[in-house]
Point group: C3
Chain length 315, copies 3
């Protein structure tokens, strides 16, 4: 998430009740997770295992629960619970203040765009030209929709990320990390009926130009989908995954989180993708592997009884 304008670190420190050391006169441009940070951003870290990675990242200002060394020009904001500090910053700069109109007066839509009855368009949503937003679609706050985008009925764009901190005191319980990100949909994208696309936690979920999705597809938070991909019905992609250009996922394929599927890859129906796949090949099965190898494996399985009988001759 980027702030609307740079915010003095002193103001952030006061908001989250943190001790500020280092470059105390600096201004922060936004707050992001470690894999999304840019220079000028805040980041937060609460586990010593990740201290070094965060301090050495592109982030300029680190919200942390212990004083530690850091490079010149950066700053630390030291506070007991960096996760809660993050929540406080999101709540302050991106407060939940939902529009109670079906089409928010702070949203905009370009020439030639049709928004059909029952569609909800949240605050600060920008929709381009020549789009069709079908009935009963929901587009939540801050989402950006390009030109010539078609969103079929009942789809949901910009639902909150499914992203929780597990807390174990006496009991297990889960605390949602507040979503501050958006969904950005580029030109020429078409989204099927009943699809759900979560917004990013701190960054954006992105659907690249020309990509087409059939019905009931799920796209997790912070996932980045390339250009001209095809996703058949009921595909599910977890959070923070990268799908490169021209990837085809057939029906009911499931893709796990924080992995990459390379350009031009094809994944056959019902396959499961637990780890990254190189581009340019066709995959199948769980775990998804080269489709021709997998098909041969299915033939081998059919030969087990024959194997058994061969062995029994020697017993």
């Amino acid at each position: 998430m980027k702030f609307d304008k740079p915010v003095p670190l002193t103001q952030i420190a006061s908001l989250i009740n943190a001790e500020l050391i280092g470059n105390t006169t600096a201004q922060a441009t936004g707050i992001n997770e470690i894999h999304k940070v840019e220079e000028g951003d805040l980041v937060f870290v609460d586990h010593p295992k990740y201290y070094e990675k965060c301090i050495q990242s592109a982030a300029s200002y680190i919200i942390i629960n212990k004083q530690t060394d850091f490079p010149e020009g950066k700053a630390l904001l030291i506070t007991e619970d960096p996760f809660e500090a993050y929540q406080t910053i999101v709540r302050h700069f991106r407060p939940f203040a939902p529009s109670m109109q079906m089409i928010s007066s702070t949203s905009s839509a370009g020439e030639g765009t049709v928004i059909m009855p029952g569609a909800y368009i949240g605050n600060h949503v920008q929709i381009g030209k020549d789009c069709v937003i079908h009935p009963n679609v929901t587009i939540m706050d801050h989402c950006i929709i390009g030109d010539k985008v078609v969103i079929q009925a009942g789809a949901v764009i910009g639902s909150d990320a499914f992203y929780y901190n597990k807390k174990t005191n006496r009991d297990i319980h889960y605390k949602r990390m507040l979503s501050a990100g958006r969904v950005v949909i580029e030109n020429g994208v078409e989204i099927g009926a009943g699809c759900t696309i979560d917004r990013g936690v701190s960054g954006d979920t992105l659907i690249g130009a020309g990509t087409k999705m059939d019905n009931l597809v799920h796209i997790g938070h912070d996932t980045v989908v390339g250009k001209n991909c095809l996703f058949a019905a009921q595909v599910g992609i977890a959070g923070a995954t990268i799908i490169e250009d021209n990837v085809i996922l057939w029906g009911q394929v499931g893709v796990s989180k924080t992995l990459t599927i390379g350009k031009d890859a094809i994944v056959l129906a019902q396959s499961g993708v637990p780890s990254s796949l190189a581009g340019g090949k066709t995959y199948f099965g769980y775990p998804a592997e080269d489709a021709s190898l997998k098909r041969r494996e299915l033939v081998w399985i059919k030969r087990i009884p024959e194997l058994w009988h061969k062995i029994m001759k020697h017993e």
Copy 2:
């Protein structure tokens, strides 16, 4: 389903045109299926195979198609078609009389709760405090929602049970058993976009406190989900199943009906659960079994060609 107040058996008998024998002056407190009945309830049975079980159950009053022995204090309501009698009772005491307002005036919502545009809230729905009901959500009649519950856009709470009686006269056809139950959602539950949770046939579908579901999850009728469970996107759970506390189901897992998944169990993505699973373990595959065994099995499958070549040496 409980009646609003106890109903004389004579009135029930007259409504369904049944012969009443036994404790004819008694009053019924409700009607339920065999696995949900409590003392004071009606139950119905139309197959001799289940006569004994129903007559000996906690139910006090049995709608049955044949006179048979029964314990002192209970009563029989004898009628030709107990299933139709059940339908008649549900139609009478829980008639389908839908609200034609987006938010029924017979529903209520606690302080701090936000109901966004396009959400439909049916008759007698009770929503607690500090909830967010996102746009285009549907909550059907009689559902109960606790405090601090978040329901993302497009989700449906309280759709009718998918529960049919198969009739084979000349043709096969299916007759829906009317749903009289509710969905009860406890405090702190979060439901993803496009999820669907069916109400119970005669009892309640229950989602325990603190449980979180990602998008496009399906929960069948009369299913009971424990506290602090996590269900990833596109999980499907069939009817009358029990999911105990802290269970984690990863993406696209399918769970069959009338089984139990024990406390703290984890089921990995795309697995299928056809029968009960003990708690505290991690499962994988179809049929879901101990994940480490299943992974070893995948390795063994890869060794079949090697096996084949070893044998061919001996041929």
Copy 3:
């Protein structure tokens, strides 16, 4: 798609800027894809591989990109880009002119039918008697709904077909073939919450009388479902497939396109169907095969380690 009344070929030729040869005084009754055409229809073909099939099909008038021989009484409409000509005809005779009312004044509903709040009913939709259309359902233009049909909340009937022409110039991109077809739902059908049923590209998607679907089921364009089928939750069926009467598909089953599942077949949960299945049998697995064979295969897989140890004795 049938035209509202027969259209002179000369008018079509002028609309798509084609050279008309053969039976130039004829009138066309509609335009359809090759597998749906009837006498009097237009069809289009742009690949020499399919010229002969189209010219010899039931279609009377062929939109084609090259002059070729054709039977007496038929006609050719020769134009550079037959696909674009098809799009032009659909745009002209079935223009996208969505109703901006929640319930279009050009739609109709029979006696006893209840349309609940938030439901969108498009232009020229016909709904029969004694139906219940639950809240936030979307029914798009031209769909036909029979009597005693129940559509649970959030379902979408008549979304556009997921059907694209792949264009490879410098880049891959996809161009949607415009949908001109409808969804036709026969008497007594029940559709679960959040289901999506796409309309046909040029023909109709059909759901046969008495068929029942649980929640979040997807039915592709031009698919024809028989009578009294049961589809459990999260089933997905791709386009132009035929499901015969009394077929049962359990939860999360996936069915590929342009195949046939025979009468009375049962496909067990999570199975995948890549090719046609004969009726009357029970199937399981991916690719779905006879369930008893498949179960035996699972047992054989468990015996691989035993096989291995038997062989090692002989090494």
